[in-house]
Amino acid sequence: MATTAPAVTAPSKPALAEILDWVTTVDHKKIGILYLGLNFFFFILAGVMALVIRTQLAWSNLKIVDPDRYNELFTMHGTTMIFLVIVPIWAGFANYVLPLMIGARDMAFPRLNALSFWLLFFSGLVMYSSYFFGTVPNAGWTSYPPLTADANALPGIDFWILGLHLGGLSSLFGAINFIVTTMRLRAPGMKLMQVPMFVWSMLITSFMVLFGTPMLSVAITLLLADRHFGTSFFLPAGGGDPLLWQNLFWFYSHPAVYIMILPAMGLVSEVLQTFSRKPLFGYNFIAWSSVGIAVLGFSVWAHHMFQVGSSLAVNTFFALATMIIAVPTGIKIFNWIATMWGGALRLEPPMLFAIGMITMFIIGGLSGVMLGSVPVNWQMHQTYFVVAHLHYVLFGGSVFGIFAAFYYWLPKMTGFKMNRALGIWHFWIMLAGFNLTFFPQHIAGILGMPRRIYTYAGGQGWEVHNLLSTIGAFLIALSVLVFIVNFFYSARKHEPAGANPWEAASLEWATSSPPPEYNFAQIPTVSGMNPLWAQKGGPNGHNGH
């Protein structure tokens, strides 16, 4: 097995050289850290926007920000969380750990990898530069034309389009890189159906990115043409069709939900087996259910369009596909429970967040099935019920998964252990805050509160739910603060993590923390799954395996 490289004390470099080193780096670990830093920065930014939104809605008729500012806020919050945080942060984690997990020394195309990061960086820069021009995107993260086709009325949409183009390219290059790396650079002896579940999830996710992202690029290019070059792709006056946008947009943007959640599901699979001290239950079923989700994920987009008056046949097809996608999702959940069943669970922060992810994602999945029922959708669509649903999936699912990933892999990246008590506090405050924020929104939606409204009149019975929601949002903010404090506190304390602090099974734990340049002094050779456990005869040593 790989030898751990001796810790080399690097000679201290002048600051400029250090910065130049990071800017020009093609090392997958450094690029991974750049990604994570950038994504976390935007996570904080989008979170602050969410707090302003929640403050405005805390009670009826509040005017903390004026309507135009509010519309910009929810547009930038959604766009940022999706395109600058959750989608790319998994590329960030995968950049760091995927080559390590398959026993490779770097990504297949290191320079393309650097390009992916810098495209993302400029994607964020272009989008947020709109604040300096006073023309911030303000039509929601879905930016439906004909509203957005008017370049004079909504100049900010250009920043949104160009930002998304750069982000889309970043995503595409990343996907190509992950696919080639996984297919070509696995350690000798590691078969494709033996890779860690996170690697498998990133592989499937990358194929989804490859298949879906071009459609988004097409849609926003056509929109740009409608805005500036006199075309009428989406304008009925010139023979165009506004619904074309919805079809193109959701053809990418519904799969994007799975692009955001599949890596979290892969990560949860890793964490569950590590902290249950037993191998993943039903590896093949979990792996193939991801393929099922990916394929079905491309045939459900029109469930975002049940209210456009499609025929019974069209609605039936998309409702059926939407319901069926709950089956592979259910397979994962049951296999996760079976993985824990009979285990010796260590309730460390990564494990708490992974369990939290499953419990919250179940709620989002159930409300998803409700929304898949077309007549219920006619009532609940475009209300706060949908806002609650999507946050149970993307926050309860993806963001809890992201924090599980941080607690799981930060010791590998930094070399120091995160404080356990603060991690547990972070988890419980976030879980309570999250449910307090988003559960009442289901009820507000049932009571008829539409989404994307900057204010609401009193006397409609919405105040209680919104106030609870606002209090919860500040609890979430507090929990994130605990995380940040934990990071710096732990960095200062610097308790060494060692190569394998969690006694995990995959190859990233076979090298030092942080790993040396080029990861492995000698490329490891493996024979089968969970190499580090196989090496010592089982997760807990020789215990009758």
């Binding site: 439906y144 191998p279 079923f285 019974l312 429970i337 369990i355 409300s367 475009q382």
Partner: protein
């Protein structure tokens, strides 16, 4: 260390239970505990007069069927929730902090996999069956005697046209009880969404398309239901409201007869109503460029038809109660009341505003 973890589990479970019970209690309190507001009780005194909206209090045949479906799926979802989350939490409790050697080293079980693939599939097909049934019931073709209405979305208000009755109005859809209403939706600018939670599921108004929905109000007496645009349509999307007023048949017929009358001829006007009439038709005020008043020369097609504006309960896209004070407030500064709306008006002096308000209020 072990006990510390499990103690926190308990604390937070209790907290979460309290939150959940509290949330359900709030739901019951809001939907059941508060009295309905009827039209008689409120305008013009209340600043805001719609009943508390709720999809759980359906007032039409169609909304009732959807509510039944919603309740059914919610019940199934609740059972699945309790079973799966219960199993999950039980597993975590039962197997937490055990000695590592006790961990079972198993890799899978095909029979179990088949079972937990099939079981959800069965539940989902049941839901799908009820979905199909309800779907065809609530959006099937409307009966021949249905009242046909056209709802036209504008930034940021709704126009209603009754083609067979030759009525054009705004902000308020007036319909008789127990008769199916077939709404044809159009938009003159961007996409809008048309929704009144107690009466029908939402349908978008899409430029270039005519979309349809139907509903059969079943309420008793004179009732008003709130509605709101549900597809983001620009700055004042939040303030694009409307109401559906359901009337007993006789009252509805009377309303139709009244709406079909043109406005009074200027010779019949006097006092500040006449002064308001003159101000309205003063080309410098440009009112007639956007607004129509049947029976007069005003034929603008951009803003709401004002022939019977004085008889409406609300103004400005359903956000102000229709009182002379609110009308004056609106005429004084429409952009201050609803920033970003399409009404542009030059600064009027207070006397002109009062005259205009008097004239418009007289248009019953």
């Amino acid at each position: 260390m072990k006990s510390a973890v499990s103690a926190r589990w308990w604390i937070v479970f209790i907290l979460l239970t309290i939150v959940t019970v509290g949330a359900v209690g709030a739901l019951l309190w809001v939907t059941v505990g508060q009295p309905d507001r009827t039209l008689e009780a409120c305008p013009p005194a209340c600043p805001y007069t719609f009943a508390i909206p709720s999809t759980l209090a359906p007032a039409s045949d169609e909304a009732g069927r959807i509510n039944f479906l919603f309740t059914l799926i919610l019940a199934l979802a609740a059972i699945v929730f309790v079973v799966v989350e219960g199993l999950l939490v039980f597993t975590v409790f039962k197997f937490r902090n055990r000695p590592p050697e006790s961990a079972l080293q198993i890799h899978g079980d095909t029979r179990l996999e088949i079972a937990w693939t099939a079981a959800p599939a069965v539940v989902l097909f049941v839901i799908m069956g009820f979905t199909l049934q309800t779907m065809s019931q609530v959006r099937g073709p409307a009966p021949a005697d249905a009242l046909k209405v056209k709802a036209i979305g504008h930034q940021f208000w709704w126009e209603f046209r009754y083609p067979n009755e030759a009525i054009v109005t705004a902000g308020e859809l007036v319909v008789p009880v127990n008769r199916t209403v077939e709404v044809a939706l159009e938009s003159v600018d961007v996409e809008h969404g048309f929704w009144a939670p107690e009466l029908f599921g939402k349908v978008d108004a899409i430029p270039g398309y005519t979309t349809r929905l139907r509903f059969t109000p079943t309420s008793v007496g004179r009732r008003e239901y709130g509605g709101q645009c549900t597809q983001y349509c620009g700055t004042q999307h939040a303030q694009m409201r409307f109401s559906v007023i359901v009337l007993p048949p006789a009252e509805y017929d009377a309303w139709v007869a009244k709406q079909q009358q043109p406005a009074a001829a200027p010779e019949a006007l006097s006092g500040n109503v006449k002064a308001g009439y003159d101000a309205f038709f003063n080309p410098q005020n440009a009112c007639t460029a956007c607004h129509q008043i049947d029976g007069t020369a005003a034929a603008g097609q951009i803003g709401p038809n004002l022939t019977h504006v004085g008889g409406r309960a609300h103004l400005a896209g359903g956000i102000l109660a229709n009182t002379p004070e609110n009308l004056a407030r609106w005429l004084r500064d429409p952009q201050g009341v609803k920033p970003g709306n399409k009404m542009v008006i030059r600064q009027l002096d207070e006397q002109t505003i009062a005259d205009l308000a008097a004239y418009l209020t007289s248009l019953k």
